[in-house]
């Protein structure tokens, strides 16, 4: 087993190394001189040269790459030109809304998807099941930013139940800040519930006809217990995987949703960095988000080892 963990760890590191290389390439293929682009049209050649040296752009590419790796190894994500602060601090400052937005969205998505998916599989082929199948395809077709706008219009503008946008200002209490997340988290959660519902349903269908489910029934166990304790527990692994991966991918939904709701999160930071060509921030955000995805993936694999006695390597 420890060999398996080691293997996965090594695999994770290889992927992370490739991720770093890809990010380096993306930022370096930018046409034109990044220093000139960052400083804008009014910059003098001398200013540009100073920034080039500061960013290490005067060095040959392989040397830049080695510097980049060494910098990352020290945990340094670079320095934002526009914000004039380390990229890591800029990301940390913006982490709270994004973290809670993703967390609430995944909770909402699971709260919809798990019961609906289980019920749908249990009543396979029935009216409920058919409607669910149709609705999941529909939900997966809705752009989250559009749903966000509709929610704003109905629940914020018309009914006035929730704030329209923002994060409540610098002095807002935790509760006020969270109330600003209700609508964006709902928009993201509803859209991402589709995939989890489909997986829950398929995974439940796989186990519902298994021998142990029949045995449980034949010994007179109540249906609810059969479904929840015997079937669902066994159907949980693929479901957990898809919930974990959805959580990681929600970050991309968050990029757009944060813009709709003017939430000062990581997504918003990335979008403004792109508009300002603040390459160190784009680079840092890409790296951190990809690293989170890879880590979640690794975490899910490790979780298998813990929850499923059949998984032994």
């Amino acid at each position: 087993m420890s060999r398996y963990v080691l293997q996965r760890l090594l695999g994770m590191l290889t992927v992370m190394f490739t991720v770093v290389t890809i990010v380096f390439i993306i930022v370096r293929v930018a046409p034109g001189d990044p220093a000139a682009v960052m400083l804008g049209p009014d910059a003098t050649p001398a200013d540009i040269e100073v920034l080039r040296v500061r960013l290490g752009l005067d060095q040959p590419l392989p040397i830049q790459y080695v510097y980049f790796l060494a910098q990352l190894a020290r945990g340094d994500l670079g320095h934002s030109i526009f914000l004039d602060m380390p990229v890591a601090s800029a990301l940390l400052d913006r982490a709270e809304p994004t973290f809670f937005l993703t967390l609430f969205a995944i909770l909402i998505a699971s709260a919809i998807a798990l019961p609906v998916g289980i019920m749908s599989a249990y009543r396979r082929g029935g009216l409920f099941d058919q409607s669910v199948t149709t609705l999941t395809v529909l939900a997966a077709s809705i752009p989250s930013f559009w749903l966000g706008l509709i929610l704003i219009q109905v629940f914020a503008v018309r009914l006035g139940w929730f704030p329209v946008a923002g994060y409540g200002g610098p002095d807002a209490s935790f509760l006020t800040r969270m109330s600003h997340l209700v609508l964006p988290a709902t928009a993201l959660g509803v859209v991402s519930s589709a995939l989890i519902t489909r997986f829950t349903r398929a995974s439940m269908l796989d186990v519902l006809n298994d021998d142990y489910v029949r045995t449980a029934r034949s010994k007179g166990m109540g249906e609810l217990r059969v479904v929840m304790k015997h079937a669902f527990k066994n159907a949980l692994i693929p479901v957990l995987t898809v919930i974990g991966l959805t959580a990681a991918l929600l970050v991309s939904g968050a990029v757009v949703t944060e813009t709709v709701f003017s939430l000062p999160g990581v997504g918003n930071l990335v979008v403004s960095a792109v508009l300002r060509r603040d390459y160190p921030v784009i680079q840092g955000a890409l790296l951190v988000i990809a690293a989170i995805y890879v880590l979640i993936n690794f975490g899910i694999d490790m979780l298998y080892l813990m929850i499923d006695p059949r998984v032994r390597y």
Binding site: T14, V15, M16, T18, V19, T21, I22, V23, I26, V27, V29, A30, P31, V137, L138, A140, S141, I142, P143, F145, W146, L149, I150, I152, Q153, V157, R158, R198, F199, R201, A202, L205, A248, L249, V251, S252, G253, V255, V256, T259, V260, V270, V271, V274, L275, R277, Y279, I282, A285, L286, I289, A290, Y293, V294, N297
Partner: protein, 287 residues
């Protein structure tokens, strides 16, 4: 050898097969209608998409303006069907690019063990980036324009196809008829294109349909964020972005382009699901 699939086999007509599958038939009908509306926009649209009429700004839907007018008095219906041209074009072009890159990488990785190590690592790493985020970064690096949006989305979705193609190639390359072809001295590139690729058409087609759907959603997201095509170019995403300020006041400006996206993506997904059932009954229908 190559004639096996085309002649002499008694199969029902394709049209019958399609009509038997409701989701596929509905999906195809809807996407065909949307494409037709977009292509024939110059004939159908009651107004020019960029015709300004400040007196008629933010008028609600009526018989004069089916979908109302936007903040410059432009007809939302005309703009929506014109925007379909670009939105569909970006989706189709990005899917084609993803297919070319993805199929090539996948088949090379499936065939050559040495290449597989490198290609698989790259695929894994690429898939660690959320699609919109990677697309944003690529567009930022290449400079925003219609072409770079297409290239970025093509690159973002290529690994998905590469993964499917690689997995299937690994299975097919071990099949007896491939071995037979090899024994007969058929060159590798010919085995790859004639014997392997031909058997991959169905999984590729299914996956490409879904990529088309995702690419259209992603394009709308990029345009909405203002990091994709120029805001003046009407796509469904840019229309929603510019209508955003009038939410609660003139909702039709955002609702109709949004519905256009939903309908298009929905029909593409129905086609994908239907094709999967039709072309490969062994694949799980329940998912």
């Amino acid at each position: 050898m190559a004639a096996v699939s085309s002649a002499g086999v008694d199969t029902p007509r394709i049209s019958t097969l399609i009509l038997q599958r409701r989701t596929l038939a509905i999906g195809l009908a809807v996407i065909a209608t949307i494409t037709l509306l977009a292509v024939l926009a110059p004939l159908i649209a009651p107004y020019a998409p960029n015709k300004l009429s400040i007196v008629n700004r933010l008028k609600p839907p009526s018989t004069t303006w089916f979908f109302g007018t936007d903040e410059f008095g432009r007809d939302v219906f005309s703009r929506t069907i014109y925007a379909g041209q670009l939105s569909l074009l970006v989706g189709a072009a990005a899917t084609t690019l993803a297919a070319v890159v993805g199929i090539t990488l996948g088949i090379v990785a499936g065939f050559f063990r040495k290449a597989d190590g490198v290609v698989s690592r790259i695929i894994d790493a690429m898939m660690a980036f959320p699609d919109i985020l990677l697309a944003i970064a690529l567009v930022a690096a290449l400079g925003p324009s219609l072409a770079t949006v297409i290239i970025a989305l093509g690159i973002v979705y290529a690994p998905r196809l590469a993964r499917v193609v690689r997995a299937s190639t690994l299975v097919i390359r071990e099949l007896p008829y491939v071995e037979a072809a090899r024994a007969l001295g058929v060159p590798t590139w010919r085995i790859m294109t004639r014997h392997v690729l031909r058997n991959l058409v169905s999984p590729i087609l299914v996956q490409a349909t879904f990529i088309f759907a995702y690419a259209m959603l992603a394009e709308a997201g990029l345009s909405f964020l203002g990091v994709g095509v120029s805001p003046e170019v009407p796509t469904w995403g840019t229309m929603i972005a510019s209508g955003r300020q009038y939410v609660g006041q003139a909702d039709w400006v955002t609702i109709f382009p949004g519905l256009a996206i939903i309908l298009t993506v929905l029909s593409l997904q129905l086609v994908g699901d239907g094709l999967r059932d039709l072309l490969d009954p062994r694949l799980r229908k329940d998912l």
